[in-house]
């Protein structure tokens, strides 16, 4: 990846990140200082342990999955593996999904959609459910997420019936899995633009 251990962010890099993600200059520098404060090893990249050191993330039920989402997948001869380090570009690329949608960005062309468009936000969330990347949320994947969210007191059967009910509500093509389009349809009443945006204050 060729990421060098440079403490200062070069102007060209800031410009590139700005173009790719849409963040402003001050936001990028602010997030860079956060990045370096998390980077205990001081090698310009973050490892999983760096993330796991954040205390609130440890008690978050989705903590592990969120951390995983930062580490991009790579290919090594037909074997899919996850890289163990993420550099600042990757960090920003993932965070770009949560930038609020500006009015002037609402363009209709899906090919050039910015990272923080509604579809891309939903895709990010969908990928957190869909671990095996088959573009479907199966009953088991749903059960895993439910189990993480409700804790240990509830029985499997009960969770199973909730999962069944959920799939039944959402499934339109009868394959008892939730595809991405069904996912979008189910959330059409939810204000995703607001729910999945963080105000990065200046």
């Amino acid at each position: 990846m060729g990421s060098r251990a440079s403490r200062l962010l070069r102007e060209e890099e800031i410009e590139e990140i700005k173009k790719e993600t849409g963040f402003s200059h001050s936001q990028i520098t602010r997030l860079y200082s956060r990045f370096t404060s998390l980077d205990k090893g001081e090698n310009g990249t973050l490892s999983r342990e760096d993330f796991q050191r954040i205390p609130e993330l440890a008690i978050n039920p989705l903590g592990d999955r969120i951390i995983n989402a930062f580490f991009p997948e790579g290919y090594f001869v037909l074997v899919i593996f996850r890289e163990d380090q993420v550099n600042f570009r990757g960090f920003m690329r993932t965070l770009a999904h949560f930038r609020p949608i500006e009015d002037n960005e609402k363009n209709k062309n899906p090919a050039t959609e910015p990272l923080n468009s509604r579809t891309n936000k939903l895709l990010f969330a969908f990928r957190l459910y869909d671990l095996d990347r088959d573009d479907k949320i199966s009953r088991d994947e749903l059960l895993q997420v439910l189990r993480m969210m409700v804790g240990v007191n509830i029985s499997d059967e009960q969770l199973g019936s909730i999962a069944d009910r959920t799939i039944q509500e959402a499934d339109t093509n009868g394959d008892s899995c939730i595809s991405f389009n069904e996912f979008i349809k189910v959330l059409e009443k939810v204000d995703v633009e607001q729910k999945m945006s963080i105000r990065f204050l200046h």
Binding site: E56, F98, D103, A125, V150, Q158, S161, V186, M196, I198
Partner: protein
Amino acid sequence: MPSRTVSHGASGRLRGLFLVMVLVFLEGSVFTVAVASSDQHSPITAHSGSHKATDHGSHNNTGKAFPVLDLNYENVRVPFEISLWVLLASLMKLGFHLVPHLSNIVPESCLLIVVGLLVGGIIRGTGETVPPVLDSKLFFYILLPPIILDAGYFLPIRPFMENLGTILIFAVVGTLWNAFFVGGLLYGVCQIGTESSSILSRIGLLQCLLFGSIISAVDPVAVLAVFEEIHINELLHILVFGESLLNDAVTVVLYHLFEEFSGIGSVTLLKGFLGVISFFVVALGGVLVGVLYGILAAFTSRFTSHTRVIEPLFVFLYSYMAYLSAEIFHLSGIMALIACGAVMRPYVEANISHKSHTTIKYFLKMWSSVSETLIFIFLGVATVAGPHDWNWTFVTVTVILCLVARVIGVVGLTFIINKFRIVKLTTKDQFIIAYGGLRGAIAFSLGFLLNKEHFPEREIFLTAIITVIFFTVFVQGMTIKPLVELLAVKKKQEAKRSINEEIHTQFLDHLLTGIEDICGHYGHHHWKDKLNRFNKKYVKKCLIAGERSKEPQLIAFYHKMEMKQAIQLVESGGGIKMPSAVPSTVSMQPSTKPAPERAIPQLSKNKEEEIRKILRTNLQRTRQRLRSYNRHTLVADPYEDGLSDLFLKKQKMFQIEKKVSFNLASPQSPDSVNLLDEFGQANQQEEEEQGLMMKPPSRPREAKKPSEEDEAKDQQRLMRCLSDPGPSADEDEDGAFLP
């Protein structure tokens, strides 16, 4: 045939309407007669009183006629008149909905004011003095609290909290702006525009400012009345409504401040500073009082499992006490009431029975509805009654200034607010917010409270207030509905929240909290998550009884949804009869086989499937719940008992049948022995469970015994009985249950 029924329906409605009108006229006349006779009766009753006294004394001597039929109106006068008013209000409400199309064009509030005007006119026309019905004490202590409690208890917390910043800015800054703008400019107009000898020029600056503060507050009653009927989207509704609730603190502070200043006649900087501080005290103090009483109510509801009938009473009492306690210290009673209702609701609802919940809901709706109706009628009557002093300049300038101030205020504040909001407010939104700033009875009552000595121009103020109220309610109230249609403002989405939305929303909450933590950004989600965690760890344990304290929110939501649907389906399917037919199929008597066909009402196959599915899935939960309660805390509620009874019976059925069908599917004979064991186990399990039930179901037990005796024959019988289309036709049931 169809045409006959249509005309029949129309004539039926007309007949109903006619009856209502007759009733109303009768009542109106009785009322005037009552008012009239109340004056004349006092001498008569006094006379009869003394008459009776002398009668007693001269009991032995004379043979005065014993009054068989006596008229004594004085004793019942006050309750009688109150009931008459309430009856009038309710009949009016009835009447409006009988007249076709009327409620679509004219909002109810306008019609009620007109009715009040009519009644006042009738009373005045008969020569009597109109009673001062909109007494401030009556208004603030009796009529207003139910409406506010209803609003606070059912306040949608999530959108309220998400938009709290916006709401606060509109409520505080907006109201302040309105008050000073209107008051200041009015003073200027009074001084400049009129001759120095006219009455207007004598109105001081402080009086004008006080008037401004009274007239500038958006009224929750009027907003509720009008916005209920136009069904706009949740965001706009909560913005205008939230503003009308929260500006009470500002109004209270300004009112007392200016009232005291005009009494003293001078104002110092220190006093101004104290005024600002008192604002915070009033607002936060009110909320604190409300929260305190809310926690008390939640705590009390934890122990009400043995006395379910008075549960609703606690909710009402604690809320009312919160309101009154806040009023003692001149804190904001409205904010106390809202805080109390909003805080106690999640805990109380987890503790109380289903029936109490329904009771609370319907009582609140009933009281608030009657209150609202009465308020508008009284406004009409007070308009006829009250001493008026019409001053063209003052009134017109007030109306214009109110409108202008509102528009400028909303536009200006939105400009600032939009810099901080993720979802910006569009021009359409701003228009609706500005247009929805209705004034109502609170302004009138505050004006009524003014002291005549300090404010010789009280009548002018009252007239102007009433004019503004009429203008906003009639003009703005009537035209807002067509305007909403015209501007194509987003409407409220009627569909209920699905389980998908609930799950995914929670999922997104966790996701966003995690991202915020990674960014080191202590935002909205971070604090909400912290609050939820605190709530789960400490508060719920104190305030919720028993095992429900550990129930995650998702599970509670799911249960509520399923229970509701199950009850609905069972009710629509013709009652409890259907499932009770099932145990009879297991009673092993061939003669009862036709019974299921007889007992099952005309349910479609699909409905049956759905009911079974839902009941089956609910059984899991009921089993869990029963396990954790002992028999002393189980609800002695016949409907609930019947339902859980049902569920248990059904579940036993499915368990047995599942095991049977599984075992009989494979032809090996050793399974028949296993079958016996299975039945034995099932029996034991059931007996252990029945210790938990207050009414142990006896039929399944009988059903089991014969099957133990003769397994081969019964297996066949069982298969036959259970091969009725319902249970065995469920493919996916096997998929879900088999290991």
